[in-house]
Subunit: 349 residues, 4 copies
């Protein structure tokens, strides 16, 4: 291939999201994975520490301990941040200042409202001066191409992606106008959603055979869901969001109930067809077919469908994604592709 | 132990529910498991066909092919029916006529309304003349002891048990008055809920890593949920019920959302404490603790808790059971114990 | 029941083995679970910390921080030690001195040879003066009842139980005389065998879909396997032991290959039938039937069978147990039952 | 990319192997997936019947019912046969006669010895006249390029691949000379190895938490293992092969024990390094690192390592593959790539 490669780097590569990013970028035909940074693993070979990556990355590729300043001075053009909230901003500030493109997978730039940020994350926003340059991007939901010039892209959380993709077009179209609390969202996540944390709660023996709710009623992802919904609906939308853990490695299954007695399944599907025509990662299933996390595992797709229940007057919308791909690293790479003017599916097929 | 043993039998013992019943009854200190019937396995040793029962049942115990008439003529005093709907009634009729006690785990006698039965099960009720003698029994929800004299006990389905135990006391107390469709119930079931069916859909490789909805909006268990709710509330209650499959052997996790802006978590808990004082299989967890299917697996318990969400005005109630025990065989044995005047926990600890 | 209850206690109850012991003892009809000790959980309610035990233990039962001296002075008659090696001996010494019966589930008293102990455990034996009183007991393998009077019972490890039960009778009978390294044992353990350790290696996402070997060639259980084999064979037996992890909560599956061209499957089975006649937890399967971990899960049984391969001259013996029961707590309770003169199956059915 | 695409087809695409082949070929940059044949699914859309393939294959791609003659007459140049043994030969005969290249994933052409074929498969060889043209190919084990001109490539079974890759170079080099039965191989397979069969034995609830042996001592893969070993060693090699099922979707973990007291781990590793220099799908791990099925899942790699046990005089070799890729479809595509003169990793990264 004749085109030159774009140098990219990953900061915070020791977790599951970082691992998935490294896997995707290592085989992406348009990029050179030039830096993989992790303070805790600095100096170690990537393929030794993350054996799933053996054969996908060069045996000589090592984790580097790069500081924000070092990253900013390097010749890497695009940086992916797979860091905890609060820490991501420390890297984003010098990187943006140095003219780098930043794809942030943390929560630091997902919210425009710093009051909401402080409420959900427990500390003041770490870099409010960058918010004007930051764009929160699920690419299928963008109404124009302005975002592609942003220096700082906030990649949405896993739960919000599974929720916004089916709902935002319907809110924009005015098909849904739920009163506060009437939009009920239950999501079931694979255990990788909790990250690579050495805690008893995430041991195999604790999670095997276990389904349970957690974090109700104030899970942090609620903030970005409602900010996006308000923008789409033109008015506040107060949702009930119930996250759960399910005994699987990957995947999110979301089931949404919303009253809409006047709306038919066909109207919902028509709205989706229009919003998502030609989008390669969108699978709209027939009403009565229910999406399955196993069918999208290791892909960047969102699959969803709707049932209209005449008895209750509700729409029931179910959606699935792979939380590590469309819910994290895959969507980040999709954003990269579009931002750079490449094929949307490059490196993601 | 000086007391004499009661002879019991299981009809339809080749499935997962039947297996669990045989396991419970084989070690129950008050009963003699005198007959295990299965047409397909007749003549074979129970311990050979269901190796999990090795060491629990006598090596000489065999499946018998008994007809309804033979069962009715035997000296077995109590029969458990683990049969498909429609077939169960064929056995129930002669057994009841012969003065046997019958604990039916099928759907045949769960509904008093034969019109609803036909609508949900697709054929006319097979024995409407028995409905007057039939009682639908979750024992913790019975308001008096009349049911213990019934000749025919309909044991509730797995989903309905996880749903009615937390909700019926609240409906009776008038704490909840949801408008049609406002009571939103999502349930996640282990794969054993589908039975021991040789279908591709239930293969390990299809269900591993898979969470998906199914049967929305008209799952059969809806009928018995709404019939019981109407009786508790004194008026029709139209619910949204969304069943799902989760990648585990056993267990049901149910998450219920219902608008009740005036009701506090403390009021809900007080109502439960009063309704369930002294009941050995009820675990009311503190608000903020979420029940976990793994914690009730292989037990007959129901664990549940409530969160009141001030933002939305909703109550969120989560509950868990083992679908094969409290959701099937365990509850049937609990009913047996109470019906016979034995300790409620006999054989179920 | 008219008989008085024996007071028992568990020390080190915060792990999976301790949890299983508490579950068994809490419902054992002959004992009163009078003390549950854990330094890390002292003062907390057992049912809060180990939610699987809700409804099985009294809500008021608390972990106590008891020192060895306090345990020795209490009125508890029998103590179970579910402690790390080295620590167990600290408790065993004063308990034995005070006339208590001790059932130790650690490795501290499994070996009579202190040189071997030091070699495999990396420190000098912590209480060599107690070894004369200690008995290593798989009850089905005891040739007389002397052990029942021992003050200190070393309960065997999980792997050794799955291996010794099928092999010791054959070694005693002289049916097997393998040269060094010819007896090849592969064992596959559920993840609970690694204990309740908050390490990345035991996270759900690391162990799901994973089968891998570990600890070859010098796993610690090798020491007790070979010490017992030497005693049975009357000469040293050097074995190849390969442990592995398999993606399940409970269970050990062991596959043994040993050259024995002159020995038939029938001879092996006859030897087993004789050695294990009337033993309630032994399931000898027909040659060609292979035991399955799922069939013994949550039971105290060992199931095993043999195939003689005429092509190779080898016997292939496969066995399964539940590592937390017959491989740990269940066998300890079985030892208690027999030691006290109770039914062998009391509390274990 | 300027090069023209090669037309390929898959016959027998309804099982797990066929599905994986379709997935690989649909995104292979050098081929056009021109035909996907299945008699049972003819006329149905591939993406509807195998939802995991949604978004990977064209929505208009349908299964066709093509007969052997039709396939032979088509313009498809390369055919993959994912058919049962016996049936594959019916297609291979006309396809080879018509000058097509055939990559057969069945057992029909894996053995050169028709007597052995009949013994293991229970019927006479269905096309002995084709054996002279057939080559059994694990590409890393080929000593020259002759095989690339063969019209008929027999792709090895899953177990044999995990076994031959680490052992064949050692047998060729004369490092191993095991007496009959001394080479002991235990393999653990994910459930997809059993195929997509609607049998109770492969239900989620039967296989969850289950590890068990099966098919000992005469599993069919033994035949091709021993035929290949004899060719490598220059003399018969009689092995003990013990297959097992493990509770995971994909993966094979093999553990091999062989006496070789004079051979060091370093000698083994040197032999492997020489045999596999530059091969992209081979991962030789350090002695003491054990390969893990989870680390090769969804890849075409084989990972393996050796431990020399001075106590026993044995080598212990452990290896892992993904049974559906390196053990089936991935290896077939690797063979295609090499046969066509393409990059070995094309479509397999």
């Amino acid at each position: 291939m004749a085109h030159s490669l774009t140098k990219v780097g990953v900061i915070g590569a020791s977790g599951y999201t970082g691992e998935e990013l490294v896997r995707l970028l290592a085989r992406h035909p348009r990029v050179e994975l030039a830096a993989v940074c992790s303070r805790t693993l600095a100096g170690k070979a990537v393929a030794d520490e993350i054996p799933r990556l053996r054969g996908m990355v060069s045996p000589s590729l090592q984790f580097t301990p790069s500081s924000p300043a070092e990253c900013a001075q390097s010749d890497v053009a695009v940086w992916f941040l797979a860091l905890p909230h609060g820490v991501a901003a420390e890297y984003a500030r010098p990187l943006v200042a140095a003219g780098k493109r930043v794809l942030d997978l943390s929560a630091d730039f997902r919210l425009q409202d710093v009051v909401t940020y402080q409420k959900y994350y427990g500390h003041p926003h770490p870099a409010p001066e960058l918010l004007a340059q930051a764009r929160y991007v699920i690419p299928e939901l963008q109404l124009n191409d302005d975002w592609k010039r942003a220096s700082l892209i906030a990649c949405p959380g896993c739960y919000p992606t599974s929720i916004q993709v089916p709902l935002i077009p319907l809110l924009r179209a005015g098909l849904l106008r739920p009163a506060p609390g009437q939009l009920v969202i239950n999501s079931y996540s694979g255990i990788s959603g909790a990250g690579k944390k050495a805690e008893v709660a995430y041991l195999f023996c604790e999670r095997d055979s276990s389904v349970k709710a957690y974090g109700i009623p104030g899970h942090r992802h609620l903030a970005e869901i409602e900010e996006a919904f308000a923008a789409a609906a033109g008015q506040p939308v107060i949702v009930q969001f119930n996250p759960h853990l399910a005994p699987m490695h990957r995947g999110i299954a979301t089931t949404i109930v919303v009253p809409a007695p006047q709306v038919t399944a066909a109207q919902v599907e028509a709205c989706w067809q229009q919003a998502y025509a030609g989008r390669p990662f969108i699978s709209i299933l027939k009403s009565g077919d229910f999406p399955d996390t196993a069918h999208v595992a290791t892909t960047n797709r969102v699959a969803f469908s709707v049932v209209a229940d005449a008895r209750t007057g509700n729409l029931i919308i179910t959606s699935v994604i792979d939380n590590l791909l469309k819910g994290a690293g895959g969507q980040a790479v999709q954003n990269l592709n579009l931002m750079m003017g490449w094929e949307e599916t490059e490196g993601l097929r």
